[in-house]
């Protein structure tokens, strides 16, 4: 097995002559600097990788026995060189059957110490192992998916595919938890969780306002003045809406229970918001009617109040 040599002294940034205290200090500083939970989400996975290297280096250099075994390899190795363990250095206690379960160490480490020693929980030490990393990510969802708690296939960074059922009551910014679906635990620790933050893809027709949905209801002026029965689409199919006479722009017509589903099983409302649209190119006949209207209008001022 050709593996790459790892210079653990370089990882911790200490000379080969460093004392145990120096190593511990360097380790603590690096752990503080690279801890994934101190990084913004975008840099978290990178920091987790780095922290893993740091942990591995400390696992060896922070342990007198492992360190002397490592030092016995000599100082001629450089980071990244092809490495095969010298005779007698093979791990005596790595049981093949357990490899996949605990294998969160490099092949180089495994070639010297086996994989069965993933635990760093030595008494009196700061424990920096993360028992199964949480996976955090954003998941874009459409309004349709929120409306009918659909199942949604996702692919995690590692390439693993899951199907997630979007629960009732989910909203923009809601965090979903998938228990135990994160990284595997090291040293028998519990697996991490997956946390998905939902990002709602804007819908061309519906706007979200809490549990309610707003939609525009464009009307001709005469429909708004005289009232009308109009057909309109809703997320639950087409409905006929009764527009009361004298409806101004901005009037909200409520369709109860056609908004977003809540966790308790009820639903928010859908509001059709009146927007009066004037004909931009009136026909000759329409012009005539509007001229008549203008002459005969009984409005008290030359234009509506306000503004």
């Amino acid at each position: 097995m050709a593996v790459k040599f790892r210079d653990y002294y370089e990882v911790l940034g200490v000379p080969r002559s460093a004392s145990a205290d120096d190593i511990k200090r360097a380790y603590r500083q690096l752990a503080r600097k690279h801890h994934p939970d101190l990084q913004p989400a975008a840099e978290r996975s990178q920091a987790a990788e780095r922290l893993k290297e740091i942990n591995e280096a400390y696992e060896v250099l922070g342990d007198a026995e492992k360190r002397s075994k490592y030092d016995a390899l000599g100082a001629n190795w450089k980071n990244g060189m092809d490495f095969s363990p010298p005779p007698g250095a093979e791990p005596g206690y790595a049981r093949a059957g357990e490899w996949e379960d605990v294998g969160d160490v490099s092949d180089f480490f495994a070639s010297l110490f086996g994989r069965g020693t993933g635990g760093r929980a030595r008494r009196g030490d700061v424990r920096v192992t993360i028992p199964g990393n949480d996976i955090e990510g954003e998941m874009p969802v459409t309004l349709e998916e929120l409306l009918r708690n659909t199942r949604r296939p996702i692919t995690l960074n590692g390439g693993r595919s899951l199907e997630v059922e979007i629960p009732r009551g989910a909203r923009e910014g809601t965090v979903l938890r998938l228990a135990g679906q994160g990284g595997p635990g090291v040293n028998g620790g519990p697996p991490g969780d997956v946390y998905l933050r939902l990002r709602l893809v804007p819908h061309p027709r519906y706007r979200v306002a809490g549990d309610d949905l707003d939609m525009d209801l464009p009307l001709w002026p005469w429909q708004a003045v005289l009232g009308a029965e109009v057909r309109t689409e809703t997320p639950d199919g087409a409905v006929t809406l009764t527009v009361p006479s004298g409806s101004q722009t901005g009037r909200r017509l409520r369709l109860r229970g056609r908004g977003l589903p809540r966790a308790d099983g009820s639903r928010g409302d859908l509001h059709a918001v009146v927007r009066i649209v004037v004909p931009e190119r009136p026909s000759a006949a329409e012009r005539e009617v509007y001229e008549t209207l203008k002459r005969r209008a009984s409005a008290p001022a030359d234009r509506p109040a306000g503004g």
Binding site: D37, V126, R127, T155, R160, E163, P167, R177, R197
Partner: protein, 107 residues
Amino acid sequence: MSVSTPQRTRPAAPSVEPSRRAELYLSNEELARAAGISMTTLARLMSLGLVDPIAPGFGSPTFSAATAERLRRMLRLHRDLGVNFTGAAIIVDLVERLERERNRSGR
């Protein structure tokens, strides 16, 4: 870390795991289990105001999944770096704020 959505045309699903029920809300017990702490520790964190229920009297599920995420982060900082709980809560707040500012300026 990002989660990518798969392509529209999915080939005869080779390794998609069966549907996982995503959790939105957690009860006290579920939150304690999610964070790997005892109910006593959870009660202590709550009394320190470091863990907020969604709304008192909401029924049995009282925490959001985001609270679990936050709490796990706090506990890792406590365990790995020796920060006390209040300090860990402050750090999580600051990192979240940093992230929001960065998202805002990045857009």
